[in-house]
């Protein structure tokens, strides 16, 4: 297990390096420069242009810029925005606290909804609840995140406001403090809608996966044996069935966590939240390469860590999986 962990860890580091390099290539080699961002349409004298180039190190060849970028990164310096010269570290810090809270509550809600819906519809297979659950989970897969976000705003913001149903109005400002989400005052209402929008799409997918995976496990002989031995239904469900059904679910949950940033971008745009997603989207549109790259490093590392955890957790959930690189694939 130890060697496998180390090996897998090294692989993740290589993946992060390669992905960051790819992003560097995408945003630095192709156009997009501080000069046009600052001057706009106005023509500037050559001296000023040269000065700006020198200031951002753009007069150096690309490979020098690349190595300098990594050097600064190891010193914890992500560089400065082309647009307003703000430190990318500050921009990252501002965006991260919003996004982290959004994604934390989103991922938690996702897990709760997926487990509840998936388990109940598998246990009570064919019941009314199961049918409603199936329609709900299939239906949600067709709804893009930004549409469900706008729909949520309409149903829990616009409509209650026009009808004066104040209790239904969840369209509240996003709380700015950390404890606001954890210790519910009134400000928790601002988190509910965005977090729910983040959670729903993949929650439906995971719930369906869990249901079908549980139903498949339940056909296995050892489940019949467990019931025949006289074990309680609860014990069979949670000890025998769930653990075996979890393996595909962990994969799907991991994939969904890696993709959750794409969901965050849309959610933050729809709800106008000042998170990393909306910052990255705006910076990419204005070709503010240092900001995009600085924030992307965090997102990429997060994805690599999730991948690593998913791979390692297979071994914990299923001892049958042999830990050598051949069997893991």
């Amino acid at each position: 297990m130890f060697t496998y962990t180390i090996k897998r860890l090294l692989q993740s580091l290589i993946v992060v390096w390669a992905a960051v390099t790819l992003m560097f290539a995408l945003f630095f080699i192709i156009p997009g420069d501080p000069i046009s961002l600052k001057s706009g349409e106005k023509a500037l004298p050559q001296e000023i242009l040269d000065n700006i180039e020198r200031k951002y190190g753009l007069d150096k060849p690309t490979y020098v810029q690349y190595f300098r970028f990594w050097g600064n990164l190891f010193r914890g310096d992500l560089g400065y925005s082309y647009k307003n010269d703000k430190s990318v570290n500050t921009i990252l810090h501002d965006g991260l606290s919003t996004s982290a809270r959004l994604l934390f509550w989103g991922a938690l809600l996702q897990l709760i909804i997926a487990l509840t819906v998936g388990l109940t519809s598998a246990i009570k297979r064919g019941s009314l609840g199961d049918r409603i659950g199936t329609i709900f989970t299939v239906g949600i897969q067709g709804i893009p995140v930004f549409v469900s976000g706008l729909l949520a705003q309409y149903l829990f913001g616009v409509l209650p406001f026009q009808m004066h149903w104040d209790w239904l109005n969840f369209f509240k400002p996003w709380p700015t403090t950390w404890h606001a989400g954890v210790i519910p005052g009134d400000s928790w209402k601002g988190i509910v809608l965005p977090a729910l929008v983040v959670a729903l799409v993949d929650a439906a997918f995971i719930a369906r996966m869990l249901r079908s995976s549980l139903l498949e496990v339940l056909r296995a002989d050892y489940i019949r044996t467990a019931f025949a031995k006289g074990l309680s239904a609860r014990r069979v469900w949670f000890h025998h069935a769930l653990r075996n059904a979890l393996i595909p679910v962990v994969t799907v949950y991991g994939t969904s966590l890696i993709g959750i940033f794409g969901v965050a971008v849309q959610t933050e745009k729809v709800f106008s939240l000042p998170g990393m997603g909306s910052t990255i989207a705006d910076s990419a549109l204005s070709q503010d390469a240092p900001v995009v790259l600085g924030l992307a490093i965090v997102v990429i590392s997060f994805g690599a860590v999730v991948n690593l955890i998913v791979d390692l957790s297979y071994a914990l959930i299923d001892p049958r999986i042999k830990i050598d690189s051949k069997a893991v694939h």
Binding site: I30, G142, Y154, G259, A284, V292
Partner: protein
């Protein structure tokens, strides 16, 4: 003479698939929805009497007024024409993107899965790397540099979608490869080409069909996301994502401007997801005969 026993008619695999697909109410609903939307997409722009970029004097009028069946948007353009044109655009983009992604997926995934070894390692590690980059960033980079023309958007969508099909085909080829009949074919001296085309190929087709359906739905969604974020099609191109994006300001007063393109987009993807679901069940030989 003794009574002749009733022998149930024996069905071939594909006959059985067809029977099970059409016996499934949910997939029929999906198919019907899709057919209606496709017909609307084909004939809609011709019969509405308006052009999708015709600016008119009637701004934000509700459905049914002044000859606008579904009303007009903030620039006085006919929503029905724009929405039906949007269906056409979404489906065209999605089909082209899916065709290319599946081609890439089958080729790369097939090579990685069949040959294994260092080719497989390179392709797999590349997928690992690609996967951790958020898909919106790849699209952003490409579209901000090359503009938002049809083929650039197609390329961006292929680049965000190719790895999932590749990974899937790699896994399915690896699984089929180790089966006994492939071993048997190899033992009889069949060539690599023959094994791939005649033995592995036909068995890899059912998963490909399911993937086709889901990646069409996925491409429609991604295209609309790009358009919504401002990096896909732009005004005045009537993409459903563009329409939804510009409807945001009228959510309070004129919600129909959001609800019409929004529900068309949802129904379009939903119908394809439902068909894909039905196909997956119908094509699964393990579920054969299960009621």
């Amino acid at each position: 003479m003794s009574e002749i026993e009733q022998i149930p008619q024996s069905l071939s695999y594909w006959q059985d698939v067809r029977k099970r697909f059409f016996g499934n109410k949910i997939s029929i609903v999906g198919l019907a929805m899709l057919v209606i939307l496709i017909v609307a997409g084909i004939v809609g722009p011709f019969i509405s009497g308006w052009k999708y970029d015709n600016l008119g004097p009637d701004i934000l009028v509700g459905p049914g007024s002044n000859g606008h069946w579904l009303g007009t948007d903030d620039l006085g353009r006919d929503i029905f024409t724009r929405v039906t044109f949007g269906i056409r655009l979404s489906l065209t983009v999605a089909i082209v993107v899916t065709a290319i992604s599946v081609f890439v997926g089958v080729t790369l995934g097939g090579i990685a899965g069949y040959f294994g070894g260092w080719i497989d390692t390179i392709i797999s590690r590349f997928i690992d790397t690609w996967q951790v980059i958020p898909f919106v960033l790849i699209g952003f980079a490409i579209i901000t540099v090359f503009g938002s023309s049809f083929w650039v958007i197609v390329a961006a969508l292929v680049l965000t979608g190719w790895y999932s099909t590749t990974r899937l085909f790699r896994a399915s080829v690896m699984q089929v490869k180790s089966l006994d009949y492939v071993e048997a074919a190899r033992a009889t001296g069949a060539s690599t080409k023959r094994i791939i085309l005649r033995h592995i190929g036909p068995n890899a087709i059912p998963p490909i069909i399911v993937v086709l359906a889901f990646s069409v739905a996925g491409a429609i969604l991604s295209e609309s996301v790009y358009a919504f974020l401002g990096v896909g099609f732009r005004e005045p191109t009537p993409s459903l994502g563009v329409m939804i994006s510009s409807s945001r300001n009228y959510l309070t007063d004129k919600p129909f401007v959001f609800f019409i393109p929004g529900s068309v987009l949802v129904l379009l993807t939903l119908s394809i997801v439902l068909i894909g679901d039905g196909l997956r069940d119908a094509l699964d030989p393990k579920l054969r005969g299960v009621k």
